[in-house]
Assembly symmetry: C2
Homo-oligomer: 223 residues x 2
DNA sequence: CGGGTTTTCGCCTTAGAAGCGAAAACAGGG
DNA sequence: CCCTGTTTTCGCTTCTAAGGCGAAAACCCG
């Protein structure tokens, strides 16, 4: 479960109380019940940590199944990526805490690798989908959206270009109202929202493809 | 396990001899052994159908875990995408056969949905990776590569553009030799090969990103 | 050698993304 | 109330990858 907090991408971890790997930080999760699928299971497990309505996106990552990934009994895990918008701060149980994805503490089992996979997936999808909606609040300024993207991607993003690209793709729409300026003045920023709050892919795969028929064909020229 | 055969994308299926879903066509697979991971398991299962060395690419697709996806006992399946180059024709056991992905026969369980997922994944990755290497032989002409891409993608692609894009990305390199012309004459086609035979992603995710430092940077200023 | 065929190449257009500077809109102080 | 500093937004230009199109290249056959 990832969230951007105080300018960095963070992950919710839980400190193990029992062996194996007692005291180390682990991802939330648990066993699959007989009447649920894996996504239902992970949503159920996470509901013990945060309110389910705060979870704006959940998707499968991969299966981790190395025979020795957990000492003792054989455990096959299906890893998920879950996202929480930046404007909520759930009350957490005693044994859980947010940790910056860059610079994780000593983690249990192969969970560090899983977090890395989740971060990579998030970074990739931020560029070719509208997944930013899952990190941002319902309304936001371009500046705050820029900070979210910068934190999640790990490099600085131009606010100008961010707004241009997302707008051209039809993902961003203005609310009409503006946010009050900061303490040091400045022009008040316009508020935006994402046009859709479900995952939408903006076809990055239109390669090798002939243009759609609805575009007018160009007239032939003769020398 | 997918392969392009006689101009269409096909999948290797196995006809079930036992209930449930007796007589229907199913994907190859089986139970996970205690000392292997899921990829090792699927490779072992497939080795009963084709030579392992003919399998040029294997990757995880997704976990299918609906409680009722298989009648009777609970079965959680990890689906894989496997690719076989077009220049091999493995000898098959009696009960297995290739089927065109477009127009599958009545399939067992949720296997039709899995095949659809595999096809979509292949199509996507053909456009932003070098995954074509797994469908093509070691050496090929641009025309045959065009046919492979057309069959897998489901629409006609331009040989000119295909060569240009793959070359610009540095994925394609000429072998120096040429293939003999066909029965109706024509200029002999140059032979090419993929520069790498492992999966390489050609960053379709370079969005919102400032240009790399090794390019003549024009005095970048950041807010 | 000329006609038919297939491949390859060069030049141009299109589309999306990024660079850059200036205008717009606010706060605060003199 | 004007001037300065700050932040946001907009318009124009540039860059890069992909696609269109026709001509040249290189072969076969009669």
């Amino acid at each position: 479960m990832l969230q951007v907090r105080s300018g960095s991408l963070q992950v919710l971890l839980w400190q193990r109380a029992l062996d194996p790997d007692k005291g180390r930080w682990a991802l939330p999760g648990g066993r699959l019940g007989p009447t649920e699928d894996v996504e239902g299971s992970i949503r159920r497990q996470l509901a013990e940590k945060v309110d389910v309505r705060q979870l704006t996106h959940v998707e499968q990552l991969a299966v981790f199944s190395a025979p020795d990934r957990v000492p003792g009994e054989r455990v096959v895990a299906t890893a998920f990526l879950g996202l929480v918008p930046c404007d909520v701060d759930p009350v957490l149980p005693e044994d859980t805490a947010w940790h910056s994805v860059a610079g994780l503490p000593e983690s249990a089992f192969d969970h560090a690798a899983i977090v890395e996979r989740a971060r990579d997936r998030l970074r990739a999808k931020l560029s070719y989908t509208n997944l930013g909606f899952a990190l941002a609040g319902r309304e936001f300024t371009v500046s705050t959206l820029r900070e979210l993207y910068s934190a999640a991607l790990g490099y600085r993003v131009s606010a100008t270009n961010l707004q241009r690209v997302l707008s051209r793709r039809g993902l961003l729409e203005p609310t009409g109202s503006t946010a009050p300026p900061g303490p040091s003045g400045g022009r008040p920023a316009a508020l935006f929202r994402f046009a859709a709050r479900g995952l939408q892919v903006t076809d990055p795969f239109a390669v090798f493809r002939p243009p759609p028929a609805d575009r007018p064909a160009r007239a032939a020229r003769w020398p």
